[in-house]
Amino acid sequence: MKKIIFIFSLLMIGFSIQSQEVKKKKNAKVSFEVDGICGMCKKRIETAALKSKGVKYAIWSVKTHQLNLIMDERKTDVAAIQSNILKVGHDVVGFDAQKIEATTEAYNTVHPCCKYRDEEIILDHEGGLKKQKKKTK
């Protein structure tokens, strides 16, 4: 009996040690902030995310600017997805809370009404749809 329990405990140790490694999950949920203002931005951001290999599901909230993803960690990582979003002209906030800005070239490709860096356009959207622009920290 003792033996069994001992072996069992050993097994458990094994598991707990294993759980300390970062497992590559097939359906990992990730979330980070992406800057944008409107429904068009939403479409652009979600499309860029979904077109990244390994991303299964993407939904961006106009209100909170959070991009929620379900991705296959074996195929991709957050940095790769973020780089794809940067390429379509949207700034992202990395894990270290550091804002990574899209290149001016990429930013210039977004539709004029989506110029989220422009205070005037932000105000415009706030007036029309009462959307709350969350200030980036």
Partner: protein, 747 residues
């Protein structure tokens, strides 16, 4: 004792071990705090690192810890992202706050009562309850009057039942479902739509053309799905009373009650009654039947959003009685005699259905659904000396699995269904009883490039005891070449067994002899109907004088490989035979929707039909089918005032072009009809006064200009003679009918 102690210590050892190198905690849902249930599948990671972990079933997580890690980020889909500062290794308990994206955005532009889908791959439009309130709309059959894609006509001169058509084909060629369970089919084909009260309907989705393969192989020209009101979202109490000068009274009541956190129930009771006899055209026949109906439905809804379960259970019972015929007909004395011509149609229907759906909590794009339905439909009827009894028992079950391939741009639905139909059918002395069963599997793939192109391709394989084993392919494409323009195309196949008597019941109210050309087929000696439907559609939204509008061009063709031809061309006969040659239905429609001013909307449509069939007599246009139709609907609403006070005005105009009538050339002169009917115009109108969010009154008129068919029943003076015929109906029988009603609701 000692031993046990040591043992338990050993058991705990691993936990103690890992608690020193890792950090753990539990995450819970703030909106549901009382059971302290953990949230499964939430992600936590240390800020600025790649070290992350996911919570287990009980909401616990364990994450490797180093002294330099200070900030823990918690993420969960649908919840706010939280960052916590970790100062000690003590396990944490943290509540997640749900993200509610719903309350803060107010959109100024009003939702339209009928919505044309811009992004859907299929040519589908949704009619919501606002639109349904625009017309008298006492039951599902009457709810299409303000909708140009569906034509409403009359089945016969006696029952006044309204028949619907899409793309120039009658309702048997449509798949009519109730919450995605095929409902109006088999024995209920003619009267089925009148058995769903209008107030029970929450919205209707109309798909033109091939449609989806998920619900079966029977649909040919389109699909109509009615969503019923749900205990969860319907008013706590609702009352609707209606009275028409054509003698009809209706009463609808809804009661919805929350039983527990997860269970809601609703009881819906409908009754209608017509006891007054009308004969305005003096043909000695009732213009509208004496009728009464009791219809009771009980629904149960179960929702457990956290675990991803949704379920519905429905039970419904219906009793409907109609009496029609000569004014002085007394059923107890005259039934089965030639004293007076009369008819009674008594229907009892019981149905029950259950649905169970599960959405994988960690995978919002993956779900599984199960549906099961049983119905028993019994109609006992006689028409003069003709007896027609039918009992149809039906079982339908369906399992659907929804998921994605790679990512959400590629979705699929797959599953199996099983149907069983038992018909006990008696036509005078002939017994046409039969059993049908079918087992099928389907797969439907949907692609969307998230920009301008999407596609839905479906395939199903069925094995049917009478129709054999066959494949049903269907394809839909959508392409948006430029802003606000959408081009759609569809192609698909459908196959069905024609229930010749149930679908053409009006034949019994005539002296026509029934002929069936038995070719040794499995159903009434006839072969199954097979057709291909092709369609193209173009929708363009526009701004004209700064007002929004859209224009749609539709062209659809249905090409029959086999059809059971219903031949009315000999006035003493009705013949059913397999198609030999061509049968093609072409339909073209232009529809314009435009906001003339802020609260004044115009919807107008022109339709052209070219429906030709090779009858035995030769290639002819389908009888009683206008070639041209014009439709216009104008609706005006006053500005919404406090407490939702408002006036609503609605006018619908229809121009029905000339229609070819079945040949009556061999009849004596007084019983002959012209080759074509004259065009005529119909005008309906309704005014609604909303007094508060609780109470409203409406008053309206159908057929304002009092258009009536002069002689709806041939040989009404000699109902037992050879020329008696009440089946050739091309215009209203009942003239102007003014109605009024009220609606009262408590949220």
């Amino acid at each position: 004792m000692n031993k046990i102690l040591i043992n338990s210590l050993l058991l705990f050892l691993p936990f103690i071990l890992f608690s020193q190198t890792t950090f753990n905690g539990m995450l819970m849902d703030k909106s549901n705090p009382k059971d302290n249930l953990g949230v499964e599948g939430a992600t936590v990671h240390w800020l600025g690192t790649n070290i992350s972990s996911v919570t287990n079933k009980k909401g616990w997580f364990t994450i490797p810890y180093k002294v330099e890690y200070k900030k823990l980020v918690i993420n969960y889909l649908g919840f706010r992202t939280d960052t916590l500062t970790i100062k000690s290794l003590k396990p944490i308990h943290h509540f997640l706050t749900p993200e509610s994206g719903l309350d803060e955005v107010t959109i100024r532009s009003k939702r339209k009562a009928t919505q044309k889908a811009f992004f859907a791959t299929t040519n589908v439009f949704t009619v919501n309850s606002d639109e349904l309130l625009k017309a008298a709309c006492c039951n599902l059959a009457e709810s299409f009057e303000t909708n140009p894609s569906i034509d409403v006509s009359f089945s016969d001169a006696l029952t006044g039942t309204k028949q619907i058509q899409m793309l120039g084909l009658t309702s048997p060629y449509l798949l009519i479902s109730q919450e995605n369970i095929p409902s109006v089919r088999g024995a209920s084909q003619v009267f089925g739509l009148t058995f769903t009260p209008g107030t029970w309907v929450e919205s209707i989705q109309i798909t033109k053309g091939a449609g989806s393969v998920v619900n079966g192989f029977e649909s040919i020209s389109g699909q109509i799905n009615a969503e019923l009101v749900k205990p969860f979202s319907d008013n706590k109490f609702f009352l609707n009373a209606y009275s028409s000068l054509n003698g009809r009274f209706e009463l609808n009541t809804h009661f919805n009650e929350r039983v527990s956190d997860k269970w809601q129930t609703g009881l819906y009771v409908h009754g209608n009654y017509r006891g007054e006899k009308f004969d305005r055209n003096n043909d000695n026949f009732l213009d509208a039947p004496l009728a009464n109906q009791i219809n009771v439905m009980n629904r149960w809804q179960f929702t457990d959003a956290e675990k991803g379960w949704v379920s519905f259970i429905n039970i419904r019972f219906l009793n409907d009685e109609k009496q029609t015929g000569e004014i002085n007909f007394n059923p107890s004395l005259d039934k089965g005699t030639t004293n007076a011509w009369g008819s009674e149609i008594d229907t009892k229907r019981f149905e029950t259905s259950g649905k169970l759906g599960y959405v994988f909590p960690a995978l919002p794009f993956q779900s599984i659904g199960f549906q099961m339905a049983y119905s028993n439909h019994e109609q006992d009827s006689y028409f003069g000396l003709n007896v027609y009894d039918i009992r149809h028992q039906s079982v339908y079950s369906n399992i659907i699995f929804n998921s994605i391939i790679g990512d959400t741009r590629n979705k699929f639905k797959t599953g199996i269904n099983f149907t069983y139909d038992k018909f006990e059918e008696l036509v005078n002395t002939l017994d046409f009883s039969r059993k049908e069963n079918a087992f099928g599997a389907f797969f439907e793939y949907a692609f969307d490039n998230l920009d301008n192109f999407s596609l839905t391709a479906g395939l199903r394989v069925d094995t049917h005891n009478l129709l054999g084993t066959f494949v049903t392919p269907r394809l839909h494409l959508r392409y948006a070449p430029w802003e606000k323009g959408v081009f759609r195309a569809s192609v698909g196949r459908g196959k069905r067994s024609a229930n010749i008597f149930a679908e053409n019941q009006q034949l019994f109210a005539s002296s026509r002899q029934i002929n069936i050309d038995n070719v040794g087929g499995n159903i009434y000696g006839l072969n199954p109907e097979i057709a291909w439907n092709y369609g193209v559609s173009y929708l363009q939204k526009f701004n004209f004088f700064e007002k929004k509008g859209d224009i749609t061009f539709d062209f659809y063709q249905t090409n029959f490989q086999n059809q059971v031809i219903v031949d009315w061309e000999n006035p003493q006969e009705i013949s059913f035979y397999d198609l030999d040659g061509k049968s093609i239905a072409n339909s073209f429609q232009v529809e314009v929707n435009y906001s003339l001013t802020k609260n004044l909307n115009l919807r107008t449509a022109y339709k052209y039909f070219d429906i030709t069939t090779d009858f035995k007599k030769g290639n002819l246009q389908k009888p009683i089918q206008p070639e041209n139709r014009f439709f216009a609907n104008l609706s005006y609403e006053t500005e919404l005032q406090e407490n939702n006070r408002q006036w609503k005005f609605d006018v619908t105009f229809n121009n029905i072009g000339k229609q070819r009538l079945p040949s009556t050339a061999s009849n004596p002169v007084q019983y002959q009809l012209p080759e074509y009917s004259d065009p005529y115009q119909l005008l309906n109108s309704q005014i609604t006064k909303v007094f508060s969010s609780k109470f409203e009154l409406y008053i309206g008129a159908e057929n304002l200009t009092n258009v009536r068919q002069k002689n709806p029943i041939l040989a009404s003076d000699d109902p037992f003679g050879v020329n008696f015929d009440s089946t050739i109906i091309y215009s209203p029988i009942f003239g102007r009918a003014v109605y009024a009603g009220l609606r009262y609701k408590i949220k």
